[in-house]
């Protein structure tokens, strides 16, 4: 699940290019998995720095869950928060950092490895922060372990965390709107090609009933849990496609399947609660 986005770093000459490279490196420091390559000078003497970056499960859910142009959420704030929370936990599960017990508690895998090693191998800082909190709670006598509690807790911060990630890679930009009473900040996608391409690719695979990668299957499942299918499928929202989707979702394995189910149940409860 990768995407490419141009950095905002247009340079005019080779001399300024050498100044630009460290600047770009600082910008990209948050994610060591990124690669940096420099395009050749074009005929006009401009060089554009390109960076490949990785989009994670929660990033993709955020992108499909918000209108590209206006940044308006397509579902309620609570539903989005829970969906993103599920995705953040899903990222940890996908990278085998956590598992779910039969009692639906979150369990850290390989705790004997020690927190230092987990810290260094966590794929990304937000997920790492969450992982550290899970580890910390597991060491407490009355610590929080139940997956629903982790979903509820993480949902409070998930949106801000994921937006920070997207801002770091310059995928979204903030802008303010001023409805009647107070101003609000929304985030619109700078280059929606990534979002569209990713969605089109997955929908194409669904239509042809081709194999879908495990992580992308998880993305489909979380979209389903958050009620974002119609935005994902769009013009392809037909009974046949929905059948294909359900068939694909049934292939999701533990613990992601359980995590998705808990997220969906939490979202349902949130809708039913009085204070959503």
């Amino acid at each position: 699940m990768t995407g490419v986005t141009p950095l905002r770093c247009r340079v005019h000459t080779l001399r300024s290019l050498t100044r630009a490279v460290p600047q770009a490196a600082r910008t990209l420091r948050a994610d060591p998995s990124r690669a940096l390559s420099i395009a050749q000078l074009n005929t006009e003497g401009y060089a554009v720095l390109w960076a490949s970056h990785r989009l994670y499960l929660a990033d993709h859910l955020w992108l499909i869950g918000h209108d590209e142009k206006s940044g308006k959420s397509r579902v309620s704030e609570t539903v989005m928060g829970l969906g993103l929370a599920g995705c953040l936990l899903g990222e940890l599960a996908f990278h085998k950092k956590i598992d779910l017990t039969p009692d639906h508690d979150v369990k850290v895998l390989r705790p004997e490895s020690g927190p230092e090693r987990l810290h260094n191998t966590a794929p990304e800082q937000v997920a790492n922060t969450l992982l550290q909190q899970i580890i910390s709670e597991q060491t407490r006598p009355q610590g929080v372990t139940n997956v629903r509690d982790w979903l509820a807790y993480t949902s409070q911060f998930a949106h801000a965390w994921v937006v920070d990630r997207l801002l770091t890679i310059d995928l979204v930009e903030p802008y303010e709107i001023r409805p009647l009473v107070r101003k609000k900040t929304r985030y619109r996608v700078i280059n929606s090609n990534d979002t569209v391409r990713h969605a089109v690719q997955i929908v194409g695979q669904l239509r042809e009933r081709g194999p879908i990668a495990h992580e992308e299957n998880a993305f489909l499942a979380f979209c389903d849990a958050a009620g974002l299918n119609r935005w994902l499928l769009r013009d392809d929202d037909t009974p046949a496609m929905r059948n294909n989707l359900q068939r694909q979702l049934s292939l999701l394995q533990w613990p992601l399947s359980s995590l998705v189910a808990e997220t969906k149940a939490a979202i349902g409860d949130a809708v039913l609660a009085h204070r959503t």
Binding site: S73, R74, V75, S76, E77, T78, V79, D103, H104, D105, Q133, S136, E137, R140, P141, Q142, G143, V144, N146, R148, D149, A152, Y153, Q156, A225, G227, S258, A261, E262, K264, A265, A266, I267, G268, D269, A270, V271, L272, A273, H274, R275, T276
Partner: protein, 506 residues
Amino acid sequence: MYTTHQAQPPSHVTKSLQRNKLGTLAIACFVLSAAAPVTVVAGVIPTGFATTGIIGMPLAFFVIGAVLGLFCVGFNAMTRRISNAGPFYAYVSQGLGKPLGLACFLIAALAYNMLQVGLYGIFGVAVGPLLNPVFGTNLPWWVWALGACAVVAVLGVRRVDLNGRILLILMGLEIILVLIFDAANILNPATPTPSFVAFDPNALFVAGVGAMFVVAITSFVGFEASAIFSEEARDPARTVPRATYLCLGVIAVLYGLSAWSMTVTTGPDRIAEFAGQNGGETLFVLAGTNLGGAWPTIGHVLFATSVFAAMVSYHNAVGRYMFSVGRENVLPGVFGQANDAGAPRWGSIFQSAVGLIVIIVYALGNLDPLVQLFFWGGTSGGFGVLLLLTVTSAAVIGYHVRNGSETLLRGVIAPGIAFVLLLAILALAFANFDSLLGVPETSSLRWTLPGAFLIVAVIGVIWAVILKTRWPNTYRAIGLGANSATGRSTSLDDRTGAHEVEDGLR
């Protein structure tokens, strides 16, 4: 050597989870804010006096309050174990079996729809005299009712549910107003000293008392909403039960006091006649006599807002039930979808459509909005809720027998006594249904309206059997609500581990 053990302070995660949790008072306020006190005191009580002619209504409120208190012993125990926004439906599904559970869903849907739609009648009648002079119009009741229907429909899909503060403030004002009116009534007795005849137990041993009990139970509808807050309660084992008992106590005292104060100021032997002459204006006529000034007008305004709040509350109850069942795919899956505002979109639209159709039918048929819509709808809906309470009491016992999860008092004795008492009230209500509606004994309505609940119950059972045969996965999800995604019902007891729920009785 001595060591001092110090408890660890709560972690950031724990504190964060507790931050938005509700305490007893908060839950009680949320529940009471949908109780719409002025609607009951101005609408239900006088109509109940007029229709049944029984002066023992004040005592009936306390009796019903006590019976419901017993009911809540088992009800609250189930709340801790089963999380579902449609509590009657979920508890019966898991206590008495899924076919009966589905039957209860349909009964609940019909009952809450009747209660909600009935309010359009009294809203139109109450608001017309207030707003027609303001706008210089002479619009009939159904125009105002249609307007209210439109507003409720919009609020429903935009998830402007209980916006906490506004309805809380209105409820507070309503309670203050009711207490002022009650005090004025008591200070102006028809006899030299206030009469307590209405509290004489003999006042309940008269013909038609079943109808009186249904009227009283209708006034309590909404107390079960405390179960919805169990997920958000600070300490579900204690907070929700306390809030429930607090609500029952406030409702019983407030309505019992109000009903008694009316008998005091008119005289116990004249209340039925007075209420019959003045109908829904009884409270305000008395306020005009005893207080004068702008008080009747203030009362009318709060009455209109109270009815509106009750409309929104019942509308959302129906929407939640349908969302919960839609999540299970027992209803088409679209009912289990929420829109971008987080509202159960299609459940809300469905309920709005029902209201719209009923208003149009009553308008075209030139039917009486006060008696034939409000009172018939309200009391029939109350009968439906009484039926649900009775069956749920039995379900609590069934659940305990199968799971053995509670003490004997909570699991068997209290719900058993509640079941017997509620069954007796149900039987009396059915026998007195003609009195309840104020129609002759030979009227077909005394059979068709309660019979409607039997019909939908049978449909529910048949539907469950069909689901079991053709869609067993969906059948297994009956009663799980939003948790149908996980296939289990969550226990709220500090979430140490959710217990798997076995299939219901075959």
